[in-house]
């Protein structure tokens, strides 16, 4: 196993170099650059900067250099000094922008992930073992309601109901009064009053899919002869179900669980936008649209590192969970 991990870690290096370069190129694929996007933004506000001034900005931001030079400057700073560069749009270091929001992002996305699993796995198992029961149908309908309604719409409807009928402050993580206040018990209560909407929205979207997958896998497994054998040997239902088919049924889930890692880091962008959550996702979206390349590039680099690590974790978990799997 150690040799396997080592080999994969080594393999990750060229993969990452390749990914970082291609990302850097793709970010600059749309026509124009940050300065032209900025100049257009100014023109809309009635301000004009001359081509000469644009040229100075380009020079000062190093946008005139060949792509390879720009790439090298950026990647070498990261590798050698851990310096992720500077956001052209926010006039702030990339690391500050990301760090400021990382805590909240990780907290919200891991909480919603855990809630999703806590709901989805037992419900999926229940639905499979009690196929076509009343509650199986209830869960199915609810699951697809969660899946069929866009997160954006669900968030809006929930917020509107919470505001109009429950008289709660909605949007963001805090009421304006607590936004800049120091931590206190009242602030924590306020946070909890705000937090449930994002968690519900994120968990329903994710849980719906996972319930279906879990249920389907369990059905595939439950019909197999080894389950009947286990029953025949007089094992109790819960022992049979949880010890054997569940482990196998988790396989598809474990195959991709590692990819939750980059998702944890960026959070759910659309939901964050409409719920006005101070997470990293909306910053990335804006950076890409403005061609704020160091911010966007660093962000994507971090995401891809997590993707690669996530894949590796998934592979290790797969082997650990399912004794039949061996990496030759």
């Amino acid at each position: 196993m150690v040799a396997f991990i080592l080999r994969r870690a080594l393999l990750a290096i060229p993969t990452l170099i390749f990914i970082s370069f291609i990302s850097f190129v793709i970010i600059q694929l749309p026509p124009g650059d940050y300065v032209s996007a900025y100049a257009a933004e100014l023109r809309r506000a009635g301000d004009y900067i001359s081509p000469a001034q644009e040229a100075v900005m380009r020079e000062q931001m190093g946008l005139n250099d060949p792509l390879l030079v720009q790439y090298w400057r950026w990647i070498s700073a990261i590798v050698l000094r851990g310096d992720f560069g500077y956001s052209l749009d926010w006039n702030a270091p990339v690391s500050t922008l990301i760090w400021d929001r990382l805590g909240v992002t990780l907290a919200i996305s891991s909480a919603s992930l855990v809630i999703t699993w806590l709901i989805a796995i037992p419900v999926g198992v229940y639905s499979a073992t009690r196929q076509y029961s009343f509650f199986d149908y209830v869960f199915t309908v609810f699951g697809f309601l969660g899946k069929g309604i866009p997160d954006f719409l669900l968030a809006l409807v929930l917020m509107w109901i919470a505001f109009v009928y429950m008289n709660l402050h909605v949007g963001g993580l805090f009421s304006p009064a607590f936004e800049t206040a120091p931590w206190s018990w009242a602030k924590l209560v306020d946070l909890m009053q705000h937090l449930w909407i994002p968690l519900v929205v994120l968990a329903t979207g994710g849980a719906a899919g996972l319930i279906r997958v879990m249920r389907a896998n369990m059905l595939d497994e439950l019909g197999k002869p080894y389950v009947e054998t286990a029953y025949a040997q007089g094992l109790s239902e819960s022992r049979v179900v949880w010890n054997y088919p569940v482990r196998v049924a988790l396989n598809p889930f474990i195959s991709t669980v590692g990819w939750a890692l980059p998702a944890l880091f960026s959070g759910d962008i659309i939901t964050a936008v409409v719920l006005n959550l101070p997470t990293t996702g909306p910053v990335l979206l804006q950076a890409l649209k403005m061609q704020d390349m160091y911010l966007a590039g660093s962000f994507i680099l971090i995401l891809s590192v997590f993707t690669v690590i996530g894949t590796l974790i998934s592979d290790i978990l797969l082997a650990w969970f399912d004794p039949r799997i061996r990496y030759a």
Binding site: P30, P31, G32, S36, A37, Y38, A40, E41, L42, R43, R44, A45, G46, D47, Y48, I49, S50, P51, A52, Q53, A55, V56, M57, E59, Q60, M61, G62, Y86, S87, D89, W90, N91, A92, P93, T96, L97, D100, L156, M159, W160, F163, V164, H169, V170, G171, G172, P176, E179, T180, A272, V273, V274, L275, N276, P278, P282, Q286, K289, M290, Q291
Partner: protein, 635 residues
């Protein structure tokens, strides 16, 4: 009801105004500042205010304190906070009737010579930067010699500050007086100043003065290369030039809390914080009619939001005290119906934007360019539009069918021009197109162009919220046999397409026509219907496309040359009026609707927000309402 309230308040203001005649000036300050004075952190008010502070007539004398809550949507939205507190030597402000007048800012007086070539300004006596350092003509000299004329910092001087190609000259008379000279008469200089300020290059800088005592340490004429490099590292920019310019880490007020300013508020928590706050400037140099130092409001707080729906939710929850930006007229009913819930009311201003279809008359498609050049086709494309229907369905019935021309209330407003070609008459439109020779039609009933292709127009908009308007327009055009293909595209691409002369028609607001001379670029096709011709004009023919010899736009260019060098305002205005007439009569831009309300959400705690003002970039938007005299109920 609104109007009545407003009149009542005005009457109080007028009374207060007469009380002002009392000779003894006793100044008062905000409790927040008194505390600081008592704690020894600030000198007393008399030492902070100029000898004769500028008096701003408040609509009603207010109470001190409070936080003005607003929302902003990221670094690109810095104009929101900026327009609340821009200062210039002369600034547009609303008079009692809502009209725009030029009022002096941090100057005691100004004068203009007879042929409008020399402008003399005298700074207020005892004027101070927000850190308490006196403002003198040394700061003017620093701005002029070391910034404005310093190619390292300011690589090109804007044409508006160099009429006839010769940059303005500034000479210092004494500690408070300086004179600006031009090589030719420049009657609109003060108005342009009030809109554009003096550049370097941004609109959000004070005019003529820069705090030398602070900024010289970042200037290449004063600081060594090593010092500059150290400063660049400290502010985390690539090199020292990044400290200056439009987004300068040092000179941009919203990024650098240490920058001394002249504005009523200064930045306290800069972005990228999620809540950007601004706090009152203890040295602000103006008072109300009773001698209370302005502003009334202690702090302004801008919460970051991403999506317009989030903003709407903030509004319904009463989380904003006064907001004009990012509100959408399509939500008018929503705003009104939630007034009680949110504890706010709607104050309507008048929109100066005229939403228009802008054809690209310099398009590279020769046949299409030929069609756009035919006045009959332009007229047909205009009278084919059922403007009333579009207003009823997309603007909550608010707004007027108008042509792209100065709006009512502007001194260049001509009713006939605003109504030019706006009467809905599809039969006439069809007849005009037949007359123009577009009689052939294809199987689906669309007209064929002279080259045998279908007469179709791709119309680009930059936001999905305009899709419905475009659908309605497409139906109108289908009725006259013209196929319209609406396309909603990304904003950056939309902008680029104009710069690159790569569009047929775009849907956009036509603004900045309230006071045409302050920004005549729009009438001359810049960034709109004839960008390439304008580029040709602006670069003296070195780039862009030369307009055909008999093109009426040449006349517009000539008229502006004459207007901008006229020695008297009367002569110049006559030329500008002629420019407006040619622009509107030619119908290059197809105005659809305008003069609707601009919605301001104003909390019931907020006072002195004057209704019925014209919202135009020229007048610097909300700045015209004189935000320093807004006040909040203090319970």
């Amino acid at each position: 009801m609104m109007a009545k309230n407003w009149i009542a308040r005005l009457a109080i203001a007028a009374l207060a105004g007469t009380a002002l005649a009392a000779p003894a000036w006793a100044f008062q300050e905000a409790p927040m500042l008194t505390e600081k004075v008592e704690a020894g952190e600030l000198p007393p008010l008399e030492e902070r205010l100029p000898t004769h502070p500028t008096v701003v007539e408040a609509l009603s004398v207010g109470e001190y304190g409070g936080v003005w809550r607003r929302a902003f949507n990221g670094p690109g939205d810095r104009w929101g906070p900026t327009k609340l507190m821009e200062e210039r030597v002369l600034k547009w402000a609303a008079d009692e009737t809502g009209g725009a007048v030029l009022v002096p800012g941090y100057i005691e007086s100004y004068s203009v010579n007879d042929d409008s070539t020399e402008f003399t300004f005298t700074l207020l006596e005892g004027l101070k930067w927000s850190d308490g350092v006196p403002v003198t003509t040394e700061d003017v000299r620093f701005w002029y010699e070391d910034v404005f004329l310093n190619p390292e910092v300011n690589p090109s001087i804007d044409a508006t500050l160099a009429p006839g190609g010769k940059p303005m000259e500034v000479s210092i008379a004494d500690e408070r007086t300086f004179t600006v000279k031009f090589g030719q008469p420049y009657v609109y200089f003060l108005q342009i100043l009030a809109k554009d300020s003096t550049g370097e290059p941004s609109l959000d800088r004070p005019s003529f003065v820069y705090p030398k005592h602070y900024l010289s340490q970042f200037n290449n004429k004063y600081a060594s290369e090593a010092e500059l490099a150290a400063a660049a590292t400290k502010f985390q920019v690539e090199n020292w030039k990044g400290l200056w310019g439009s987004k300068g880490a040092v000179t941009a007020w919203w990024l650098n809390p240490d920058l001394p300013v002249l504005t009523a508020w200064q930045i306290e928590t800069p972005p990228p914080a999620d809540t950007v706050t601004m706090v009152r400037n203890p040295y602000y140099w103006s008072v109300d009619q009773e001698g209370n130092q302005l502003p009334y409001i202690d702090r302004i707080e801008h919460r970051l939001f991403q999506d317009p729906e989030t903003l709407n939710l903030m509004i319904a929850q009463g989380q904003l005290d006064m907001q004009d930006r990012h509100l959408n007229l399509a939500n008018y009913t929503f705003y009104r119906e939630n007034e009680e819930r949110g504890g706010y009311h709607i104050v309507n201003w008048k929109d100066s934007n005229i939403w228009s279809l802008v054809p690209n008359i310099t398009t590279t498609d020769d046949v299409l360019r030929g069609l756009f050049a035919d006045a009959r086709v332009r007229e047909a494309l205009s009278v084919a539009i059922d403007r009333e229907l579009i207003i009823e369905l997309t603007q909550s019935g608010l707004g007027k069918p108008v042509q792209a021309a100065p709006v009512s209330g502007s001194q260049y407003y001509v009713p006939e021009l605003s109504e030019h070609w706006v009467e809905y008459d599809p039969d006439h439109a069809n007849a005009l197109l037949d007359e123009a020779g577009l009689t052939e039609r294809d199987a689906q009933g669309f007209r064929l162009r002279p080259d045998g292709q279908r007469f179709s127009l791709i119309v680009e908009a930059n936001d999905a919220s305009y899709a419905k308007t475009l659908e309605l327009l497409a139906e109108n055009y289908a009725d006259i046999g013209v196929e319209m293909l609406p396309r909603v595209i990304d904003r950056t691409q939309w902008d680029n397409n104009r710069s690159n002369n790569d569009f047929q028609m775009q849907w956009m607001p036509y603004d900045r026509m309230t006071y045409v001379p302050a920004d005549p670029r729009r009438l001359m096709g810049s960034d709109s219907f004839a960008n390439q011709y304008y580029v040709w004009y602006n670069t003296d023919g070195t780039s862009g496309i030369e307009p055909p010899a008999d093109h009426p736009l040449r006349e517009v260019f000539d008229l502006w040359d004459q207007a901008s060098s006229s020695a008297s305002v009367e002569v110049a205005d006559a030329h500008v009026a002629e420019m407006v007439r040619i622009f509107a009569e030619q119908g290059w831009v197809i105005g659809v609707y305008g003069e609707g309300p601009v919605v301001n959400v104003v909390s019931n705690r907020m006072h002195n927000v004057q209704p019925d003002l014209v919202q135009d970039d020229i007048f610097r938007g909300v700045g015209m309402a004189r935000t320093q005299q807004f006040w909040l109920d203090q319970d």
